[in-house]
Structure formats: structure tokens, C-alpha cells
Chain length 874, copies 2
């Protein structure tokens, strides 16, 4: 039997997402729930993939299968394609497995032609409605399926309106619409070199092809990359008989959420427009009405709507995003899906659903994307500074967050500015899929039109990006790049601040303060901690960062980079003196000047950590990084140290390296100059002893970077332990401590069994490990990694998400061999990937003890670790 | 039972080398062969190692054991330690497992004191002899055991000689010698703050201690490092009753080889001195007589000597190096060992011994050290140029080879000059162990004194270094740094040339020519090829190198670095134009200019190879290496290309990399600019087709450098195969070819299973693989690798000999996984370690198909591969 590529709605259900796409599966599910869903069928994602194999052509068998389902649709609706009596009209919509803005969305009224438009007029007894539908169809089909610029049709429409002195589209008469239809067909012929297709089957074939092709357009590709969606999933095509929200004043269309997608509030939330078709609501051209006003306008319809949306929420056990149409007083459901929401809404809804008994804690945890909660952790505007700031206007609080930046009116200019390091707020009348790339790099988005479900609002919420939408007092003149509020004008480059949680727009930059985790978020994170197995530590070099990390739930510090301490004022001069020293006596003299600073650094860190574990990495970078390289600074340093400039120049030449990343750094410095690490461990232990005497509990873990070998690590370990024992003896006091190493070289991963015998812990430095295993310099590979991604060789940069089959292989082997020879060894990660959810999943699978990441990623990592553990248990 | 640390000669045999040292084991063996060996005993190498554990003290039990063997020696010889009647005197000599110049060698006449000297005088009826022996003993003991400078004693000797108007030492009377003894004892007291030890047991204890300590002196350490001898082996101490070669004119001492150690000629070869002790021969103070003159002088002794040496050669199945003493007409054998020899002698002897039926081909192969044959491969002086050169003088052809360089008279100055890149010939009256470091860096060594067994000659032969010894016409004034021959003078920095195969010394530099392999060497290498399993290919970038490689027995070219071709005149300008090109059109235009050159390069290589396989690595280095960086060259290039200098500066900035070794190079260039590799493969295939049409067989193997991934390699492979197919179509001709990759990144070794599916061969680039696995930049790590070696963390640099436990692990895994997924894959090595014998052993063990190395290392690699295979079969 031949493979089945087309399913009627009755044949599917919600679990067939990967075959029918999200939209198709849900239409089938609702059909089988006996909801009022217009009849139709779905062409599968497998057909899409085969379409690409067939050189982007609809093959004959598929065409036959579609036509046969079309005939079924004709008999079930009693309508005929192209009929002058009772014509069948359909909508054609894409439907990917995961909802994907940027792809071709919808063609309505397909099936209309010069004959069936008469049928529609007859059947509806409304000639104006029929031609209005026809002209909409021609324009939409031309734009969406054939890529004829919309502006060509707009100018026709505008000129007819002007000739006939019509202000609004709704004022156009049937005859005027007929004239528009004729002119639209001419535009089509001019652009396509052939007549507008009159055969409904041809229309359907072209539309289906257009949906398939939209899977691979630039915007869709970018969206997939941004959201880690597999390029090979493909999209389904949904063909559904039309219902009309534009049949008059007792018809309408709307979009609604079963709960508030911005806050998570449990009341139904949505918007609708009477006498309109669906795209009018989303496009933001007319500002729609709030859903609750429908209750007064059409109480029975509202009742049915409210019952339906709540029933669907219970059925799907998640907040629903519903599209509906009212045709002459009758409610039809056109789509349902799990609604996109802000992170705070996601958490509130998840916690509420658990409390309502609809889902388990584990399900709640799986509902929230780890990356999305970063928006909850980022600073808000300081209320004190808000008081001092000038409020420009207020729009809809479309996507929470606080953003300050320079105004840009086009995506292109905004991108350029962002590449130059500027912070950008994109200001537009409304956004469209073409703006996606600009929105990605912007701090925030401000639109003057559109509602809570407009493109800007939906996409911004999806990205976790701050957005104020429909700020109707703000007049945006895109052509002249000026934004006006009353008499005030703001131009490209002017700084504004927007608050996506209140809708407020301010002049200039408003100061920010850190958020606190409370309410449902706190409850949610408590569940997360109950379930996760991995410890989450933080990378922090200052007491401030350490405090923030602990507030965000870190289990101590997994990486403190001591070199950052070397750069601080007052001490960099002594560091440079140490580097320039030509013998051990001068070097020790300089180190003696550094030690009080280091001791104080560590003392403050221990205090901030107040008993949490503290992993300190000893000096890592090559010494030349501390020496100034421009002539002026060299001169200044020579004066400060009272030496000849030549000495500094000589040092620079002596320390210069061809490949510093593979040079004299890490514990190699300590093989050559053991006194540097000795100074550092002395400072650590003296600080620890001081704390202990003050009653502060301390848990120092000394981490030696860049080892390759047991003998090498042991050489350095012996040196530092000798110094530590001297400190203990001098103070008649001891401190429990660990000595471990970073695993950053491929060789260390291979020889882990030996190295583990002299290490209390391993911490993978995935940045260096990736550099060396790939032979990709982090500083230099950006350019060609982009080529690799562009040419489909890489999915993403290995510096962002762990390369599981390559680096992961080494890490797994290293972990197993390390544990085999030292069962008590603690093993974690402190490289960049320690905060990446996908990588955390792997680290949890191979049973690491901890990951360490930047303080702001700690909650994200906690959530990712909990999700990883839930998935592992499945 | 307590461990036995002392063995009498009767208790040992030749297989106890590791316990008794080479010398001790052979003395025991000879004792048991009933040869005339003076009685004695050996303190074991285990005692030496325990000595170091006991804080460098002789522990009581060892002392007791030594004394007990001493008593045995007293009863077996009928002599007593310290006796005034018939005193026992002994020699004390070190004896490592492998013979080791640089260690303490010998103290003779131990046991003499103010009383026993009278005993010796009485017993020998020769007071002069007794006091001569005593003064020699004091000086030797002081110098060797107590490190009192020899010069202090020399000046005493000189002044007494002057006072008494004596020219030679032998003219001194007994009374004068008594005076010298008294004065020597005073020198000793002055330097040591105590009297010269009169107690023979104390003397023996101090001497034993001195031998043990000499194991760890600087010279011995350097020698061990140079010869890969384990620091933990330790040395034995041999204590043997004295016989005297200085008892008058029917006494004497000599050194002889059973065959000629310089040429391998099968006649006995050696030297002796009458009325002398052993050190007189070796030290080169008196020029000794040729051994065959002994036949006339003492025919019976000579007959016994000749029988003995031939018997020992048959017994040991190898050429023997014998020390003997004639005491009043009676022959004593003091030592035998396998003789050191030049490489050509080693080969001649090995082939002769096989022909004489003494050893097997396999044994012959194992007898020749692979590294040593490099001297046979290095150039000799061009006979045509010799004719035109000025012959200064002629000395002994002590160690073959041809060396030109600047004269230096001290080891220190020679070392400094060599560090500055100068070629150096060391010129001295005679060399001593202090000169070892200078000899290591010198091109050649010239001495005015000493014979074929002098220090200079023996050490130079061991090193495979060119040496002319005993050039008696040459007067070397070390103090004034001048060398005189007749009226001519040569000063520091003057260039001379010396021929170690003829003994000739020339003024200035003489041109060299390449050697040919013939005679026994050819026979020997045929045996090698019969046994070896690995194929040996060569790294060669020019037709000349390719021809040389094939002459040296290479199985084709394993690595041709095409970038070297890019640098040639005429084409570098087009290469630079290609790099500066801002778009693909300009780039292709420049590539079109390069292709005729490349085609011609490959055509010539194919012709030179004449059917041998030819592995061509496509462009590897980052493009910035081809662009000039100094202002003058930039200006010139701008003029040549007729562009603004700024364009070049911009290109330099654009291409600059922080870590070029991990940057945009290798096949990464081809991911970005596929047209470069396309140009190269087009040139290869067009050249191959041209050859094919001319009847020359061609086997191109295209090697893609630096892969990390199957998808990446496949991307590049598809590009080049597309181009190759175009060439085939254009020419209506096909060529069999392979496409493989270098394995240089750790990631490639991990993903070998996948990569092997798209590769016909793998070639390990151990240089890059070592760089990345260690994180050691080859350009930068020299400094700290030396620290690692100095501090005992590394034994040697991983860039010289493969790091088997680290890099070797990856290579083994990669090989296994590669073969598992592609059983036909060919796997080899083309990095630096491909020519290193120790590494070759590993490559043979893990069953690689080939190694590739520089043409001059090909015979070395062939021999190493044969030895590896013999060892594996054991």
C-alpha cells in the first residue's frame, strides 16, 4: 500500500503532532471532541520532506490524494469547488510541529474565481461580501503564495478609494470592489506573465507548494536556529473549509488565551474584532476590543466560547491560545494550541496548575524553558530613579522587562548599531516577520499600533524580550525616522527607556536594580531543588558576585579567577614588578607587596560566602597579559618602577608568544616560578585562618589550572602544600582544604586515571578543552565557525553548547577513569557550557557532581538540572 | 637472609650486567673462562641505588661485606692490605650497565701508604717503581675521589722536575719521587684539611663513595640524557688486585679491538705503551704504538693476546674492546666489552659476523643503532672540491664524517657560538670529559695528541661525530687560542674542514656531496627490508628530495607540503594577489595565474617518483603567512600589484590571529574558499594525466589537513571531487586516486569511526596532535619544556619522541575505530615522530601501515621498523 500523505481531521489526534503539525493535530483533536470546527484535512510533514526530495514539486500521487480528500470535503459540506450555486472555499495554513512565526501563515477564501464569486454572492445574498472576499483572496494569494509585493495591491486599493472618496475599506460598494478585483487580476498578470489562476485545484496546488517552500525561507531558518528546532522536521499544510467573520455585524473573529500570557493571571484574556477576518486582529491595523466586552455584545456566544476554552485547557492541561470566528452568530473554533507566555506567566501558570490538581510538580517543571527565566533575573528599573525620570507615554505591557537604548526605526540600522556595541530600542508602527533579526539584537521593542496579540507582542514574549505595544499616543513616522508625542520629537539615536511590565516609556536612561526571587517563583524553584541531583555552583570573582550567586541559590563558588584580582588598582603595579623581576629574590620582593591585597580579597570572599564552598583557581593567564603594550603606558610604568623603558620592552619581547593560548600559562607558570602559587595559597590560608578565628566557616578548594600529567600536577601540589603547611605552623591552626585541578587539555582527559590519584576534584574547563580538541582558537574561530554553520557543517558553535560526541566523549571517559582510581573525587564543570541547559542534561546523564556558571545563570542551571533529572528517570 | 651487595668475580657471569655492571659481569665471565684476570670483586648497582637512599653514605653492613671480600682477596693473592712485606694493591673502577664516559673511571694502586710503599719496594726490588706508584695513587685519588684539581699536583711535579733538570717523568729518581710524594701529601692536607688517608680501608671506602657519586655528576647525566639511559640503573664498583704495566721495559699496557672500530676491518686493531699504566694510553699524553709491533717485541705475549681476543669475540659473538696489562712479560686481561664502533664499522662487522656464521641476520640487525647510521647518510667532501682545497695537515681518521666550521679552542666558547647558529670545529690538544657538552654541539673535533682510543676518538665515535685525532704536526696553543702548522696560524673563528675518514685537514670550507649506499650497507638494508613490516615513506616537497628519498629506499612520498611550492619566485606574487582578493572573481583570477606553476610542480614530482605513490597535502598554513609584514616588502608588493599600501595593511589586520596555530588554516580555508583546493586538485590531476599520456605511472593520494569531523571533511571532499571529475571530463581521461585526511586534532581521533567512512587514508600529524593534546605551542613551549625536563617532570620533549601514554592512546583508539568502520583504510604517520625509532616501535606494535619521514631518515626508519618487528615477534 502506498504511504498515506493526507489525513482528514477525523483521522487524527493531538498525539500526531510530528506527522500533522501542531495545528493539524489540534484541529483533529478538537474535531473528535465534537467542538465546532470547520471540516478539513491535513497534508503531512512527511509530504513536505518528500517535496524537497522531489525537487520541490508536488508529485502526481500527492495531488490525487489531495483531490480525493477535497471531494470528501465537498460531500460533507454539500459545497462544490468553483460552484456558482454553493461554492466551497477553504483556508490554507502551514502547521509545523512547533509553532513557528516567520513561515507562511494563511491564505483565506481559496476557491474563489470569476464564477464561484457569483455563487458566494448568491448563497450569502451579499454581493459586496463576495467581492470583498475575492479581492482579499487575490491579494493574499499573490502576496503569500506568489511573492508579489503587497504594495502593488495597496496602491490599487488606495486609488479606487480616493476616486470614489471612500475613507475606510468597509465603505467600498460591491461595484467598486468588482473594479478592484479586475485591477488586481491585471497586477497579477503583469507580475506573473499569466492570468490569475481560475482553477481552484491549481490555486490549491500553488498554495500548498508555497507553504512547503516557506519552511525554508530565511526568516523561518533564523527562527529555527534561535529556538533549536531541527531543520528536518518539515511543515504540514491544513486545508479547511471557510467560515466568515466578515459577513456583517453579527460576524467577527478573535484570539484568546485561557489565562493571561503576560502575568499568568487565571482569567480568560483576549481580543476580537466584529466584521473582520483573522488577519485583521493579528496584523494590528485595527485596534481590537477586549474579549470580556463580547459578553455584553453576544452573551450566548461568549458563554459557549468561555466553556470551550476552559474545556480545552483542562483537556490539554495547559494554558490555551485559541483562534475563533463568529459567522452570523455561530461560534467556530479555528485553532487551539498551548499559549506562548512570559516567563513569569509560565511560572505562575505552572504553579497554579499544580495547585488546581491538573498537573504534577514534575510536569510543571518541564513546562518552563530554563533559558526563558533569565528575563526574571534581569534587572528592573529602580523605582527611585523612575520618580526622577520623564514619562513620555504609556502603551500595552506586552512583554515584561526593562530596556534602555538608542532609538532605531529600521531593523537594518538597528543591527548595524548593535554590531558597533550600541544598545538599541526598535521603534515601529507595527513589526512584521521581516523585523525578526532586528528584534533579536534589540534591548526592547516599542510599537504604536497592535494589541497584546500583535506580531511584536507575540514574538517579543517568545524571545523573552521587553516590549511595549500599541502605544497609540506615540506617532511613529518611519519614513522620516521620527517619533512624536504631542509636540515632542525623538530621533534616531535618542535614548529612551521602556518598561514591558507597566507599558511605560521614559526619556533617557533609567537606572536598574536587581530583582528578588519571591512568590510563585520561589515556590517553583523549591520544587526544582527537590528534584535536581546536580549541584549548581557559580563563577564569581568578587564578593558582590558571590553574594548575588548565593541569593540565586548557588551551592558555593565553583570558579574564582584570581587573575581578575591582579588587575585592580594599587596592586597591578606590584604584579608588573613581579613579572619584570629578573631573579627569584626580586620576584619574591614584589610578591610580598601583592600578598596583603590577595589575603584581603580572599577574606572578603570567605565572608560573603559564609560557609559555602569556595573554589579558587590559581593564576592562569600568561604573564604578558599583565604588561602594558602601548608606548605611553610603558613609559608610565617605567617611571613608577623607576627603571629603564628598555627593561620593559625586553620583558615584552621575552614574554611574547606566537600562540599564547598554548603557551606559558596555567600551572606551567608554577613549574617555572613556584613562588607565585605559593604566594596565592599563603594568602588563601591566612585569610581562611582569620575567618576561622572570627567564627566564619570556610571551605577552600584550591584549583590548579591546565594540567596535563600526574607528575606535573604533583610537582605543583607539593610546592603549594609545603607553603600551606608553613602557614599552618606559623599560625598554629589548620584548615580543611582540597586541592584539585581543572581538566582543560585533551591529555589530562586521557590520563585522568593517573591524575585523579593526586587530585581531590576535577573541574572541566570546557572553553579550553574545546579550543584544543577542535584546534579552534576562541579568539580567532568566530569567523570560520559562522561559515561552518552557514554551510550546514555545524548546527551551532561548540563554545556555546557542549559538543557531546567529541568533547563529551573525553569528559565521559575522564570522569569514569577518574572515579575508578579515586572513588571520592568530586567532578564538575566550570566552563561556559556549565550554564547551558542542553549541556547540563549531558552532565547530569554522566553523573557529574556539579556545574558552575555565572551568577545570573544559576537559577537557569538549577531548572535545567531538575529537567535533566526528570528526563533521565523516564 | 640479608641482601647480597658484593660478588666475587667467581660468583658472576656475563648475564648479570644489570646487577654487576658491564665491566663486572665481563670480569666474572672471563674469570670463569679461566683467562688471566687479576682477582677481585664487584659492589653491585643495587648498592649504588641504596647508597642514594641512605643519604649518600656507605652503610655499616655494606662496609662489612666489602671488608669480608677484601679478606678473601688477601688470602687468594697471598698479599695483605697495608703490608710492608707483600702489600695488596687494588684498582677501583666504576662499571655501569652500559659503558658511560663521563663517570669516574679508575683509581689505581689503592692500598699504598707510607708503610706499604716500602712493602712494594721490597717485593718488587724496585724502590723507584714503588714511589712512582705511590705518587700516581695520591694524585689520582685526590683528583678522582676528592676532586682536588690535578693542576696542583702537576705544578709540584713540574717544579721538582725543573729543580732536578729532568725532562721526562721516567727520568725522576726514587729520592725525587719520595720528595714528590711528601709534597703531594701536603697539597692534600692543604685542600682537605686532613692528612692523606693512610688506612687502606678508609681509602677504599672513600673511593667507593666517589664512584657512586660520579653516577650523578653533570657529565654523566648529560651522557645519559643523550643516550636515553635510565637514571635509576646505578653503577657497580669493581675492586681488583693490581697488576703493573709500569714495572719496567718488559711491562706494558694496552687497549685493543678484535676488529677495526672505525672501518669494521676484521684485523685486530689496537695500541699499547711499554712501562706505563692504563691511563697513559687513554689520556693521550704519550702517543702509543700500533698493536702489531708487539708481535715483534714480545711474540709469545702477542700470540696469547691474539688467541684471547679472538676467543672472546667468538664467545661474545661481537667485536671486543679489550684492556690488558703485561706485568714483567705476563699477560693479564683487565676488561673486555663489546666495542664501540662507527656506523659503517657496525654494519661491516654485523654483515661479516653473519657471513662467518656467528650470528643471525636478525641479530645483525639488532646490533646496529638506527640513529647511528645517519652518519652514513650525511654528505662527504666532494673529491673535485678537495682537489682545489689547501691541505693543512693530516691526523688519525678517528671517527668518520666530513665537517666544516669555525675553530674554537674551548668548549664554552664553542657552545656560545653554536647557540648563535655558527658551525663549530673544536680544536684541542686532547679532550677530557669536561668537553662533552662542546663536543655534542660541534660539527667535528680535531686533536693534536692521542691515538685512536683517546678520549676524543672514543667519544666522537660514540656520538657519530667526525673526529681527526693525534694530528701531531698541528701545534695547539690553547692559552693563546691559536693553532699552528709550520709557519701558518689559525685563530678562533677561522674556518677549517676536517675529514674523519681520511684524517685530512683543509683550510676553509670544502663542498659536500651526497653519499651512495653500497657494499655491506646495501646487503644489510636488504635484510632490513626483508624483515620490516611497516612501509617507510618520505616527506618531500621537491623533485630533488623525492629522488633522494627513493634512492634511500622510500616506498613513495607520504607528505608533500604544497605551501612550500607557493613561496617560490614568480608565483608568490600571484599567491599574494589571491589572498588580497576581495571576492571570488578576483580570487579565481589570481588562482588561474598560480595553476600553471602548480601543475608543473606536480608534473615534475610525478616524474621523479616514476610510479611510486605520491601523497599531496593541500594548502595548510594560515594565509597571513604568505603576506609580507615589514614596511619595505609591503611597499614593494603594493607596487607590484599596483594597489594602495592600505589594502595590504587592511588584509594584514583582517588576517591577523591571536593563536594562528588554532586559527583559519588547513581545510578550514577550503570551507571558506573552496576554489583554492579546487585549483590544487586541478593542477594535480592535469599533471597526472599528462604523465599518464607520457607513459609514466602515477598514484596521487590527496591529503586534506586538519579535519575535525566527517561532515567537514565530506564538504571539502565533495568540492574537490567535483573539480576532479570536471578535469577527467575535459580530458576524457581518468586517474586512480585516493582522498584521505591528516589526523591532527584530538577531535578527529575521537570521531575516527565516522571520518573513516569518507577517507581512503589517515595520516597522523603528530606535531599538531601533540600541540593540541598538550596545549603546548611548538613555537612557544621550548622554554618551559626545558624546565619540565630539568625538574624531572618530563623525560624528553614530546615533540621528539611520541608520548605513548597520551598521544599514543589517541592514535591507537583512532586506528582501531578507523579500521573498524573502513577495513580498507591505509593508516600512517607523517609528523616528526615518523622518523623516530622509539616512536616507530610503537607504530609497528599498533599495526600502522606506514610512517613517513625526511629523506635522510628513511634508512634509519627502515632499520627501526625492522628492529621493531623483530622485537614484536619475540
Amino acid at each position: 500500500m502506498a504511504k498515506k500523505y493526507v489525513y482528514s481531521f477525523k483521522e487524527g489526534n493531538k498525539d500526531m503532532r510530528s506527522l500533522l503539525g501542531g495545528k493539524g493535530a489540534n484541529l483533529a483533536e478538537m474535531t473528535n471532541l465534537n467542538l465546532n470546527v470547520p471540516n478539513g484535512f491535513t497534508v503531512t510533514t512527511e509530504a513536505c520532506n518528500r517535496f524537497y526530495e522531489e525537487n520541490e514539486e508536488i508529485w502526481q500521487d500527492l495531488e490525487n490524494e489531495i483531490i480525493s480528500h477535497l471531494h470528501e470535503l465537498e460531500s460533507s459540506t454539500g459545497k462544490q469547488f468553483g460552484s456558482t450555486e454553493n461554492p466551497l472555499l477553504v483556508s490554507v495554513r502551514s502547521g509545523a510541529v512547533q509553532s513557528m512565526p516567520g513561515m507562511m501563515d494563511t491564505i483565506l477564501n481559496l476557491g474563489l474565481n470569476d464564477k464561484s464569486v457569483i455563487g458566494l454572492a448568491n448563497k450569502s445574498s451579499n454581493e459586496r461580501f463576495a467581492y470583498d472576499s475575492y479581492r482579499r483572496f487575490i491579494q493574499m494569494f499573490s502576496d503569500v503564495a506568489m511573492e508579489i509585493p503587497k504594495a502593488y495591491f495597496d496602491s490599487v486599493l488606495d486609488s479606487v478609494k480616493e476616486e470614489n472618496n471612500r475613507d475606510k475599506d468597509t465603505e467600498l460598494t460591491a461595484d467598486e470592489l468588482k473594479e478592484i478585483v479586475e485591477k488586481y487580476k491585471k497586477v497579477y498578470k503583469r507580475e506573473m506573465n499569466e492570468d490569475f489562476p481560475q482553477d481552484p485545484i491549481t490555486q490549491l496546488k500553488l498554495a500548498t507548494k508555497a507553504v512547503f517552500k516557506s519552511w525554508n525561507n530565511q526568516r523561518a531558518k533564523i527562527y529555527r536556529k534561535l529556538n533549536n528546532i531541527d531543520d528536518k522536521l518539515g511543515t504540514a499544510v491544513n486545508i479547511q473549509s471557510m467560515v466568515f467573520g466578515n459577513m456583517g455585524e453579527n460576524s467577527g473573529t478573535g484570539v484568546a488565551f485561557s489565562r493571561n500570557p503576560a502575568t499568568g493571571d487565571s482569567n480568560v484574556f483576549g481580543e476580537y474584532l466584529m466584521n473582520a477576518q483573522g488577519e485583521d486582529v493579528v496584523a494590528g491595523i485595527r485596534t481590537p476590543k477586549e474579549i470580556h466586552t463580547l459578553k455584553e455584545q453576544m452573551p450566548e456566544v461568549y458563554k459557549e466560547f468561555e466553556d470551550t476554552i476552559k474545556r480545552l485547557e483542562s483537556h490539554y492541561k495547559d494554558m490555551q491560545d485559541l483562534e475563533f470566528t463568529i459567522e452570523e452568530g455561530k461560534l467556530f473554533i479555528l485553532q487551539t494550541r498551548n499559549g506562548k507566555r512570559t516567563s513569569s506567566a509560565a511560572i505562575n501558570i505552572a504553579v497554579d496548575l499544580v495547585n488546581e490538581g491538573l498537573i504534577s510538580k514534575e510536569e510543571a517543571i518541564m513546562r518552563v524553558s530554563p533559558d526563558s527565566i533569565s528575563q526574571l533575573l534581569h534587572p528592573n528599573f529602580d523605582p527611585e530613579d523612575i520618580k526622577k525620570s520623564t514619562l513620555i507615554s504609556k502603551g500595552l505591557a506586552a512583554s515584561p522587562g526593562a530596556a534602555s537604548g538608542k532609538i532605531y526605526f529600521t531593523s537594518e540600522k538597528a543591527k548595524l548599531a548593535a554590531q558597533n556595541g550600541e544598545k538599541v530600542v526598535i521603534v515601529r508602527q507595527e513589526t512584521s516577520p521581516e523585523d525578526i533579526e532586528g528584534m533579536i539584537i534589540a534591548e526592547g521593542i516599542l510599537t504604536s499600533r497592535g494589541g497584546m496579540t500583535s506580531h511584536a507582542a507575540v514574538v517579543a514574549r517568545g524571545m523573552g524580550k521587553c516590549c511595549v505595544a500599541g502605544a497609540s499616543e506615540v506617532k511613529v513616522d518611519e519614513e522620516n525616522e521620527v517619533m512624536r508625542v504631542d509636540s515632542r520629537e525623538y530621533h534616531t539615536g535618542d535614548i529612551i527607556s521602556i518598561d514591558g511590565s507597566t507599558g511605560e516609556i521614559f526619556e533617557g536612561e533609567v537606572k536598574k536594580i536587581n530583582p528578588t526571587l519571591s512568590g510563585n517563583f520561589e515556590i517553583f524553584m523549591k520544587w526544582v531543588d527537590e528534584i535536581k541531583r546536580l549541584k549548581i555552583k557559580a563563577n564569581a570573582d568578587t564578593p558582590q558576585d558571590a553574594t548575588q550567586a548565593i541569593e540565586f541559590g548557588a551551592d558555593g563558588i565553583g570558579l574564582c579567577r584570581t587573575e581578575h584580582m591582579f588587575f585592580k588598582e594599587n596592586r597591578i603595579i606590584a604584579v608588573r614588578e613581579m613579572i619584570i623581576a629578573k631573579n627569584i629574590i626580586d620576584r619574591k620582593k614584589a610578591l610580598d607587596k601583592i600578598i596583603p591585597f590577595q589575603r584581603d580579597d580572599f577574606y572578603k570572599m570567605f565572608k560573603a560566602l559564609n560557609g559555602h564552598s569556595f573554589t579558587i583557581r590559581l593564576l592562569d593567564p600568561p604573564l604578558h597579559e599583565f604588561i602594558p603594550h602601548n608606548e605611553e603606558d610603558i613609559k608610565k610604568l617605567a617611571e613608577e618602577l623607576n627603571i629603564d623603558k628598555k627593561v620593559i620592552h625586553d620583558t615584552i619581547i621575552e614574554l611574547a608568544e606566537v600562540n599564547p593560548m598554548l603557551g606559558h600559562r596555567g600551572l606551567r607558570l608554577a613549574v617555572t616560578y613556584p613562588e607565585i602559587y605559593r604566594m596565592q595559597v599563603r594568602a588563601i590560608m591566612e585569610a581562611a585562618i582569620k575567618c576561622k578565628k572570627e567564627g566564619i566557616s570556610v571551605h577552600p578548594e584550591i584549583m590548579i589550572p591546565l594540567s596535563i600529567d600526574r607528575d606535573e600536577l604533583n610537582f605543583v601540589k607539593k610546592e603549594i602544600m609545603e607553603e600551606i603547611n608553613m602557614v599552618f605552623e606559623e599560625n598554629s591552626e589548620k584548615i580543611d582544604y582540597k586541592v584539585g585541578t581543572m581538566i582543560e587539555t585533551p591529555r589530562a582527559t586521557i590520563l585522568a586515571g593517573e591524575i585523579a590519584k593526586v587530585a581531590d576534584f576535577f573541574s572541566y574547563g570546557t572553553n579550553d578543552l574545546t579550543q584544543m580538541t577542535y584546534g579552534f582558537s576562541r579568539d580567532d574561530s568566530g569567523k570560520f565557525i559562522n561559515e561552518y554553520i552557514r554551510k550546514g557543517i555545524f548546527e551551532k558553535s561548540p563554545f556555546e553548547t557542549l559538543d557531546i560526541k567529541g568533547i563529551g566523549y573525553l569528559i565521559k571517559m575522564c570522569t569514569e577513569n577518574g572515579r575508578a582510581s579515586n572513588p571520592n573525587i568530586q567532578i564538575g564543570v566550570c566552563g561556559e557550557t556549565g550554564g547551558d541547559p542542553q549541556s547540563i542534561k549531558f552532565y547530569n546523564e554522566i553523573n557529574l557532581d556539579y556545574v558552575s556558571c555565572s551568577p545570573y545563570r544559576v537559577p537557569i542551571a538549577r531548572l535545567a538540572a531538575a529537567q535533566a533529572e526528570i528526563e533521565r528517570k523516564k
